[in-house]
Amino acid sequence: MTGADPTDAAGTVPTLDEVARDHSRFMYSVAYRLAGNHSDAEDVVQESLLRVKRGLVNYTPGSLQGWLARIVTNVFLDETRRRKRRPQTALPDDPDRVLAGAPGADEASAMESLPDHIQAALGDLQEEFRVAVVLCDVAGLSYGEIAAQTGVPVGTVRSRVHRGRLKLREALS
């Protein structure tokens, strides 16, 4: 899932088009694993792309996917906090979401290979564990990068990744 980390050895700053073309699927994967559903994942990705566009001017060439994962995670966490404080926006009251249409053929085909039980188990994890596991196993960040992203010590990251995986192991067994 993580693929090769396109560390920009040439020191060039990508354009938004390049980010969208090469990394939007990666951003969507991180967003989906964090949010657990397509509607929220789309919202997160769209807001993330906005932040990417505004942030590219200050982007220092390096681990591009690490930078993108941090943006996606920040957007997700911002939205989560916002919904906790404004519960009416977190309600499953959107008819389009409750009565979602049937997936298209491409999506239905892809969904056959999706381990739903793992996604469901991810969604059941406490947020801090889910973020740690997704940043590690979906975004491919190191413990140090996750610590910097989440503002906790590396030892805490290590604990959260492990405990998160233990929970997911129960879902697999």
């Binding site: 792309l49 892809a110 999706l114 793992i118 590690c136 492990h162 192991r169």
Partner: protein, 282 residues
């Protein structure tokens, strides 16, 4: 060693010495080795699983994001609602938007106050006017640097006209907040709510912030005026002006109990009751 080393070892996060110790433990403890294998399976599944999204969806998201950014740029050009990154709130105030918002708020609140005998409204008017004066004056020199302030009369012209015929249409409490919704005859709306605790303007979403000692002002780049003032007492005033936003206001306020049965149980709709909603704040 402790059990967390199993995951750390899988991720290459152990020192050489720690890795050697882990390898020795795995060789001598079949149970630990079995757990290690299971964790490796979890890790592999996560790393190899595809997320079902088609290229058309990704293209649409990119297009939508670019369109939203273009709209924001247009709004910024008008001086009504330039964007700043969320993380920099309180750092880049926008005088024109603040002044326009204060004018809107003052005119709306003034209109409401004229037909209501509710002392709290008058207090809030004074508070907002004081906040506007602070923003306009020299007390926040860092805000005024590199800016071309819009005179208040010009800001007033920039603001949409706000008739003074607002009537309260809906009010409810949900345990955390009190919502009051006013509508004018032409469809504008004002929502006032108060949190029990501190109000974090990040709750309001992406937008611009201007702050004074007494109030935070937030505005969103929308087609029309959509501003909110968060004062020091936890009151949040949201002004939505213009027909394009009626649907949004309906989503936000009017239809909440109907659309959200689970929350509706916690709501107490006082729209038709002989209750002064402002007393709910006491």
């Amino acid at each position: 060693m402790n059990e967390e080393w199993l995951s750390a070892g899988l991720d290459g996060e152990l020192s050489v010495e720690e890795q050697d110790e882990l390898d020795a433990a795995l060789a001598s403890d079949p149970g630990l080795a079995a757990l290690f294998d299971e964790l490796q399976t979890v890790r592999s599944v996560l790393r190899s699983s595809a997320v079902p999204v088609d290229d058309a969806t990704l293209r649409r998201l990119v297009t939508d994001a670019e369109a939203a950014d273009s709209d924001a740029a247009d709004a910024e050009a008008t001086g009504l609602a330039p964007l700043v990154p969320l993380g920099r709130r309180r750092r880049v105030p926008t005088f024109a938007a603040a002044a326009a918002a204060m004018v809107i708020i003052a005119s709306v609140v003034g209109g409401l106050g004229g037909s209501n005998s509710i002392p709290a409204l008058g207090d809030l008017v004074e508070r907002h006017e004081a906040a506007a004066a602070v923003i306009e004056g020299d007390e926040m020199p860092d805000m005024m640097d590199d800016m071309d302030p819009m005179p208040m009369d010009e800001a007033s012209d920039a603001a949409l006209p706000m008739p003074a015929d607002y009537t309260m249409r809906h009010a409810f409490v949900d345990g955390r907040t009190v919502h009051l919704v006013y509508r004018s005859s032409r469809g504008d709306a004002v929502s006032v709510f108060r949190h029990e605790g501190d109000v974090d303007v990040d709750d309001l979403g992406s937008g611009s912030m201007a702050s004074s000692d007494e109030a935070d002002m937030w505005s969103a780049p929308m087609d029309g005026a959509y501003v909110a003032v968060v004062d020091g007492s936890g009151y949040v005033w949201i002004v939505v002006s213009g027909e394009p936003h009626e649907e949004m206001m309906d989503d936000m306020m009017y239809d909440l109990p109907r659309r959200s049965p689970s929350v509706g149980e916690r709501l107490r709709d006082v729209a038709d009751a002989a209750v002064d909603p402002f007393r709910l704040w006491d």
